[in-house]
């Protein structure tokens, strides 16, 4: 059952159309200045509807999906995406709304924004929210710009943002786009922030300390409260990259950690589908003090009516056009309401249990660079296997042959040859065992026949891809 599929352009043949369009009666085309008029679009495809459907369905079959099996990409929270949420997000009463419509006519959608904000505030203990950011990185940037503006308003010139060495790449990237310089703080041998090091660098030039909780090693920052105190003592803010909120949602209140701002990824903790890399959404939640700086527009409730307001003089302004990722927001709200408080707490508990099960079952076979307790994910390294010339990437590729998606590899950067495994709570023990079994077999293969691993995968639609060639050739479009 091989599926091979040429490019849509290669399948095209003249004189086909995939849509019925009636000719127009009135034509004003003759009014167009001929120097402006375009000829036909060269190379543009021509196909019928059945061919288009087939083309994309064949392509779909070349992808692995969460609905097919465990997808333990660390830091990505690849959980089940409930079918119900797709259904409600598909209502035309949401899809067809134009953002420039009269507010009277969009009370339903405003209420959805408002409800989700309220729920996120309850779940985080924070004071104010914006749902505008289009993804986690966009949320980070938004938050950092708010901090920047806060200090600008106060007339303070703070030029630094502190970042964990285990932080996700978006953290430093966002900080620098917001015009800050970044300083990296090392982790200790226990995989937690080096508090002593922090104390040394923390001063009145530092605007923000960015923390990921639990950090990208899956380890909870035991001293988070102290860390916050240190930062606050110098007038700085603490940011929480909430990409890992799944591990403590409805169990621990972020506000209790001393966090001033955070983002959450609706496409992680709140189960909106990743769609191959987006759209997601990265709402930002802040403490009272920072509320005036939230981006516009904001949704406000007045006399039982909802309205959009841009009337926030201290706001950092717009961070994108129109509003947030509405269809994502609808799904997240449906998810939270479907889970309820008890359910969400269970999410945290089971995702942590599942990660610890994997840790326990694999720790004899793979090197565990940091031994502190794991929450929702566990990071191994390829240290044992490197002796046989096998890397984390080889292991990742070989897993594909076992019908299992790979973990995240080579991240966090502080672990050489990292294998970062996050199962989520929506994996059954049966499926975890399937993954564990595959990992163990691969460990054994590496002992006995490392070649089969180094040359993997063997059963995928294409074999190992030459990424170096791609970067050299830079053929990034069909011609």
């Amino acid at each position: 059952m091989k599926v091979e599929e040429p490019l849509i352009f290669e399948k095209s043949k003249p004189g086909k159309i995939g849509i019925l369009i009636e000719e127009e009666e009135d034509s004003f085309l003759q009014e167009i200045d001929p120097t402006l008029l375009r000829e036909e679009i060269k190379g543009f495809p021509e196909l019928s509807e059945p061919e288009v459907i087939r083309h994309f369905h064949r392509l779909a079959r070349m992808n692995w999906a969460v609905t097919l099996g465990i997808y333990p990409l660390g830091s990505c929270t690849m959980k089940y995406n409930p079918v119900l949420n797709e259904e409600v997000a598909g209502l035309r009463g949401f899809l067809e709304l134009h953002p420039e419509q009269d507010m009277e006519d969009i009370q339903g959608i405003l209420e959805i924004y408002w409800r989700l904000e309220q729920l996120l505030l309850q779940l985080t203990g924070m004071d104010a929210a914006t749902l505008l950011p289009a993804a986690g990185a966009h949320g980070e940037l938004t938050a950092i710009m708010m901090v920047k503006k806060f200090f600008a308003e106060k007339g303070e010139n703070r030029e630094f943002v502190l970042i964990q060495d285990s932080a996700h790449g978006t953290n430093p990237a966002s900080a620098s786009i917001a015009g800050f310089k970044t300083r990296e703080i090392k982790s200790t041998r226990s995989g937690m922030l080096d508090v002593a090091a922090l104390e040394k660098v923390m001063d009145e030039k530092v605007a923000l300390m960015m923390m990921t909780v639990p950090n990208t090693l899956g380890i909870f920052e035991t001293q988070i409260v102290e860390i916050a105190e240190i930062v606050h003592s110098k007038g700085g803010f603490v940011y929480c990259d909430g990409a890992n909120f799944n591990s403590f949602v409805a169990k621990i209140l972020p506000s209790r950690m001393g966090i001033d701002l955070m983002h959450v990824n609706l496409h992680k903790t709140f189960s909106t589908p990743h769609g191959g890399g987006g759209p997601g959404a990265g709402p930002v939640l802040v403490k009272k003090e920072l509320e005036p700086f939230l981006p516009i527009p904001r949704i406000v409730k007045e006399d039982g009516k909802f309205k959009v307001s841009c009337d926030f003089p201290l706001s950092i302004g717009r961070i994108k056009s129109f509003f947030g990722q509405t269809a994502v927001i609808v799904r997240a709200l449906a998810y939270i309401l479907s889970m309820g408080g008890e359910g969400l707490k269970r999410v945290a508990e089971v995702c942590v249990l599942n990660a610890n099960y994997i840790r326990r079952m694999l720790e004899e076979f793979f090197y565990l660079p940091y031994k502190s307790d794991s929450l929702h994910e566990v990071v191994f390294s390829d240290k044992f296997q490197r002796e046989k010339g096998v890397t984390a990437m080889d292991i990742a590729k070989r897993l594909l042959d076992y019908g299992v998606h790979s973990p995240t590899v080579f991240f966090p950067l502080i672990v050489k040859g990292a294998l970062m495994i996050e199962p989520t709570e929506t994996e059954s023990k049966e499926e975890l065992d399937r993954f564990i079994e595959a990992m163990r077999k691969i460990a054994q293969e590496i002992e006995e026949n490392p070649e089969v691993v180094k040359t993997a995968p063997h059963s995928t639609p294409v074999k190992r891809c030459d990424e170096v060639l791609a970067a050299r050739r830079l053929k990034v479009r069909w011609e």
Partner: protein, 447 residues
């Protein structure tokens, strides 16, 4: 134990897992978390059943009103027909539920689709390289300015017409307020609605590293990119397109030598969806590829020499380059880019042209009917499917329109204080000529 249908861990499994891990209770696994951080009782209410969720969302949906045929609202988001295959394909679980294609061997489908997307954007814009999507037109525009800044060794000023989408200008202002970039604004010609070409030469002083124009601009007027290009010389020229369908009828920015073509591709298969998801596109010249923000898919071969697709040049991206990355973007708008790809594949060469002509013709039909009725169409410049008209009392127009269920367009005073009683009217293939008479009646001088 609390059971939830979305969580597979049943009573027996829980026992087995706890035993294997060697703890009695899940709470033992949270030992590393300080006690005082835990909350006692769930911070939100209990789970709703499916029918309750459905009812709630149907109720919420019904609190919204919309009209397709009787709406004339555009202004950066356009109401176009979305063929059923678009949602069908983007709903396939092998597209919907997948992550960013980090393992190309089991992601060829989405990688190939994004490669096709890049190609389609290049063909449409007549550019050489396109990335695989950004959040929306506004952020794509900001990224373009940043990119131009990286590329250009010139000054710190970007020149931007006031006729560029207000949200885009606002977003840029937000972003650059942290950086050393200044904005120089350019006026429009009150007759044509085009930018003031005559004064452009003077505006483009030494410190200007980039000039951005939107075409069709926020007022729907098609700019003279050829003239702009010849004046802007070695300054990076960014052309913003928020109604990309126009490029199926008008010569695209690439034809006139734009350096960066960016904008919003929502017209191609995305519902207005109250402003999101949208999709920002960004295309440029091959020579600037290393400065591109966002993901990029390239062709390569696999171990057997078979054609394959991979994400490439990731050395530009945040996960490798960190604070020196070309952008902080990680999650982008892939599924939206897939929708665009399906949409354009369906319409194809002939269909997209027909669609563009239909938009153009209907908009011009309405404009003509309005003129015939004595309504003033503000600008004389060429337009595609959107134009500005002047009314006597815009409040009355909206009130009158509301009564008959028509959304007449955008009150320009919302964004341009000095443009009182100006209405931005957008006409697409969803607007049926049968309703035009009614629209004209509302605007007719003598109401």
């Amino acid at each position: 134990m609390y059971k939830h249908p979305y969580i597979p861990c049943g009573s027996q499994e829980l026992k087995e897992l706890l035993a294997a891990v060697g703890v009695d209770d899940v709470d033992n696994l949270f030992k590393s978390v300080p006690k005082e951080l835990f909350i006692d009782s769930p911070p939100i209410g209990k789970a709703l059943e499916v029918e309750e969720i459905r009812k709630l969302f149907h109720t919420l949906a019904s609190k919204n009103k919309f009209t397709l045929e009787r709406s004339f609202i555009g202004g950066g988001i356009y109401r176009h027909f979305v063929p059923p295959p678009v949602r069908y394909i983007t709903s396939l679980p092998e597209f919907l539920t997948i992550y960013t294609p980090y393992q190309p061997e089991i992601s060829q489908g989405i990688l190939q689709a994004m490669y096709e997307y890049q190609t389609l954007i290049c063909q449409l814009t007549d550019m050489e390289v396109s990335n695989a999507s950004l959040y929306d037109g506004a952020t794509a525009f900001v990224e373009s300015v940043f990119m131009a800044k990286r590329v250009s060794k010139k000054g710190n000023t970007v020149a931007i017409p006031k006729s560029l989408h207000p949200h885009y200008r606002d977003t840029l202002k937000t972003y650059i307020s942290n950086l050393e970039i200044d904005i120089k604004e350019i006026d429009w010609d009150p007759m044509t609605g085009e930018i003031e070409i005559d004064k452009l030469g003077k505006t483009l002083s030494d410190e200007v590293f980039a000039l951005a124009v939107q075409s069709p601009n926020y007022f729907g007027v098609v700019e003279r990119i050829d003239a702009v290009r010849s004046i802007s010389k070695d300054i990076i020229l960014i052309v913003v397109v928020t109604e990309p369908l126009s490029m199926a009828l008008f010569k695209p920015p690439g034809f006139f030598g734009a350096d960066i073509v960016t904008g919003e591709a929502q017209s191609f298969g995305l519902y207005p969806s109250w402003g999101g998801p949208l999709i920002g596109f960004l295309a440029t010249k091959a020579s600037l590829i290393r400065h591109l923000p966002g993901r990029l898919i390239g062709e390569t071969v696999d171990k057997d020499g078979k054609r394959a697709f991979v994400a490439t040049l990731s050395t530009r991206e945040q996960h490798i380059r960190r604070e020196r990355a070309t952008s902080n973007i990680c999650t982008n708008q892939t599924l939206a880019a897939l929708a665009v790809t399906v949409f354009l594949s369906l319409y194809g060469k002939c269909g997209l042209r027909k669609l563009a002509e239909k938009n153009y013709n209907r908009a011009h039909l309405l404009a003509k009917m309005l003129k015939d009725a004595g309504v003033k169409v503000t600008f004389e410049g060429t337009f595609f499917n959107e134009f500005v008209v002047e009314v006597k009392d815009i409040k009355k127009v909206f009130a009158k329109a509301r009564k008959v269920g028509i959304y007449p367009g955008i009150d320009l005073a919302r964004y341009y204080k000095y443009m009182q009683n100006h209405l931005l009217v957008s006409v697409t293939e969803l607007n049926k000529p049968e309703t035009f008479e009614e629209f004209v009646d509302i605007l007719r001088e003598d109401f």
